[in-house]
Symmetry: C2
Subunit: 104 residues, 2 copies
C-alpha cells in the first residue's frame, strides 16, 4: 500500500543546547500546523554508538501527500521555529519519501 | 502519549547491489515475524543531498515494546537475512527509541 508522504529527521544537538526546551517548542510548533497528519519522536536508547553515528533524536512526521508536506515546510510557524532550531543542530539527516506501508 | 518501541533504519547501499530484490526480501522477512507491529519503508525523493548525506532508504518498524523488538532482533529469519543484507550496505544509521506520540 502506498500513499502519503513521510518526513524523517535525525538530529545531533550541539553541546550546551537546552534540548528539552527545544523539543517542547518543536512539539508545539508541529502540533499547531494542521497539514501534519501524524508526529512522533524519541531519543535513541539503542545499542552501539557506531550504529547511530552520534545522532540522538529521531523525528517522524507523516502527511497525506507531498502538497501537505510542502505547505508544512513553508508554513510561517515552521520557518520561524527553524531560526531557533537550526543554530542548535550539530548534525542533521533528512529523508523525505512516499512510504510503502507493509504493515499498518 | 508514550508506549511501544521504534526501530528506524536508514541505509545507503553499495553500488551494484540489486536493491529491489533486497528490499523485497526484507519486506518478506519482516512481514513474516509476528513481533513486528508496523512496518513502512521508502526511498528518499527529497531535497538537497547534503540533507540526506548519501543515504537513500528508510525502514521504519514499530513494536509493542522492547521485548518484542528484542525477539525480532534475535529471530532466526532476521539473523539469517542479515547475512544477505549486511554485505550490501555501504552505510547504515540505526535509532532505537521509545516514541512519544504527539499526533497519532
Amino acid at each position: 500500500m502506498m500513499g502519503g508522504f513521510n518526513h524523517y529527521v535525525v538530529v545531533k544537538f550541539k553541546d550546551g543546547v537546552a534540548v528539552e526546551e527545544l523539543t517542547e517548542g518543536l512539539v508545539k510548533m508541529v502540533s499547531g500546523i494542521e497539514h501534519v497528519k501524524s508526529f512522533q519522536w524519541g531519543k535513541d536508547i539503542g545499542g552501539p554508538d557506531f550504529l547511530r553515528q552520534g545522532f540522538t533524536h529521531a523525528f517522524l512526521m507523516t502527511f497525506n501527500g507531498k502538497e501537505e508536506f510542502d505547505a508544512f515546510q513553508s508554513h510561517p510557524n515552521h520557518v520561524e521555529f527553524s531560526k531557533l532550531f537550526s543554530p542548535a543542530v550539530e548534525n542533521i539527516l533528512v529523508l523525505d519519501f512516499p512510504p510503502t506501508i507493509v504493515k499498518a
